[in-house]
């Protein structure tokens, strides 16, 4: 019986909520509450490819799923890296796993950093805490294609020196021609660097507003001040890109949790321009 004039659908539509299996190849403890998981996927059912800024849903049976950005090199095809902060049900469950265990994965999802927009211009990456994870694929890209960009700057901060992610790579990044500025909220005796919140690092660099593209990821208040500093330096709203975080249950735009005004963060984000976000961004409890 054909009814109600609807198009016909294939009988077996693959359920987009079904994860595929991935093996944990290695786990590297980055800080006291962050670990980087290296995952390996079978080529089946299809080879895996992502763009910097996108994320996966990681699934641990009996615990649930969590949205985690991909923090590895997009041009390195055989493995995927995720830096995970252990904060709640799923991530704590993941923290107990060992290499060799299989977990579930769906993805990649979401929008990517608009690297093309930065090509031939200055790129400023601004990260806070775990927010450096989704920026790292951009750094990998810059390292591979340094000549595509003019000045590349990383402004990064964490709560304390012990919370700094990927600290062992900072030197190599500097060598490769990235201007790295690091700050911490709270210093410790051994800390010789800058103390203060991330947006303050803007006072240490010079910005050519028309020629600069900014990518930022971190706590919402931090991004708010990053946008503020950028706009104060006349960087156009269209050149400031944020990576947002919301509760997510499906990552495919049907569960409703990640709504942010008219946007679904999973579908229209997580990477989105400040120009698009401005009417809704940082409104009290929105």
């Amino acid at each position: 019986m054909t009814s109600t004039a609807l198009e016909t659908v294939p009988a077996t539509l693959r359920d987009p909520m079904l994860p595929r299996a991935a093996v944990i190849d290695a786990i590297k403890q980055e800080t006291h509450d962050v670990g980087t998981f290296t995952l390996r996927l079978d080529e089946e059912p299809e080879p895996y490819a992502f763009r910097p800024g996108q994320f996966n849903m990681l699934y641990l049976p009996g615990f649930g799923e969590a949205a985690i950005s991909i923090s590895s090199d997009a041009e390195e095809r055989d493995t995927i890296k995720h830096s995970i902060r252990f904060v709640g049900t799923v991530t704590m469950g993941l923290s107990r796993l060992r290499a060799g265990t299989e977990i579930g994965i769906r993805g990649p999802y979401g929008t990517a950093w608009p690297i093309e927009q930065a090509r031939g211009r200055d790129l400023v990456l601004v990260g806070g805490g775990i927010g450096l994870a989704p920026l790292r694929p951009v750094i990998h890209h810059v390292l591979r294609h340094r000549d595509d960009f003019r000045k590349v700057t990383l402004l990064y901060g964490a709560r304390s020196p012990g919370d700094l992610l990927y600290a062992e790579s900072f030197e190599a990044w500097k060598q490769a021609g990235i201007d790295v500025h690091v700050t911490v909220d709270r210093s410790e005796d051994s800390w010789k660097g800058v103390v203060g919140v991330v947006p303050l690092l803007f006072y240490r660099i010079r910005i050519e507003p028309k020629e600069t593209v900014i990518f930022t990821c971190g706590p919402e208040v931090m991004m708010h001040f990053v946008a503020y500093e950028a706009l104060a330096r006349r960087v156009p709203k269209e050149s400031v890109w944020l990576s947002l975080e919301r509760n997510m249950k499906c990552a495919i735009g049907v569960c409703g949790h990640c709504q942010y005004g008219p946007l679904f963060v999973c579908r229209d984000g997580p990477v989105i321009s400040f120009a698009r976000m401005e009417p809704y961004f940082n409104r009290e409890e929105y």
Partner: protein
Amino acid sequence: MNQARPKVAVYKFSSCDGCQLAILCLEDELLTLAEKVDIANFLEARSRVVDGPYDITFVEGSITTEEERERIQRIRENSKYLVAIGACAVSGGIQALRNWIHVDAFVQAIYATPEHIHTLATSTPIADHVHVDLELSGCPVNKRQLLTVIASLLRGRIPDVPPYAVCIDCKLNGTPCVMVAQDVVCLGPLTRTGCDALCPSFGRGCYGCFGPSDMSKPETLAEHLKGRRTATPEIIRRLRGINGWSPKFRAATEKLEKTTP
């Protein structure tokens, strides 16, 4: 809780035994449970008692005597993870209704030699006395929720007990709202889910066995009920049921009392 067989203890304070019975009512899982954990101290079920410390301790009942007040301290010291189970342990239970009356007079009335009856003036929840790691509300607790808590702890997952109101489950079940369709007073919008919206499915109003939901607004419902011609004393009585002593219901009723002549 990574060691081979965690030691589990079950203790009773002032209560009806219904919540610890929920463990025995896990008929399909009881024997598996006894394999996965060492039921080391559970007087209602077994005579053998293995000394603590215990990995998981379930405490049923409220504190109503001096002896209980002391005993809960010792139990806490002997327990790694303490779960308060049931309305008595979480909010003082139905016997906390005595907190608004003078039991002394009553003791005089029932007992010929009242001096032999030792009781505190109030019935209070476990968390008023010691640190509680997890509270599982309900009168009685839902055995599925209880099983989820145990299985979660065994697998190292933070137990997840939904805090929202009964209304949501009532709607999931498709039960037509008894308050709207039958003019029955229902505490569902104030009460934490866990019972699977049982009372409305029997055509009657929820009476609050699971205590307040995370954003329970008893005053707001009370205002509305007054407008619907429900007398204030009745509203007070309804809120002062199984979980009357829970801070939210208690505050609302005491406020209502002040505003009624």
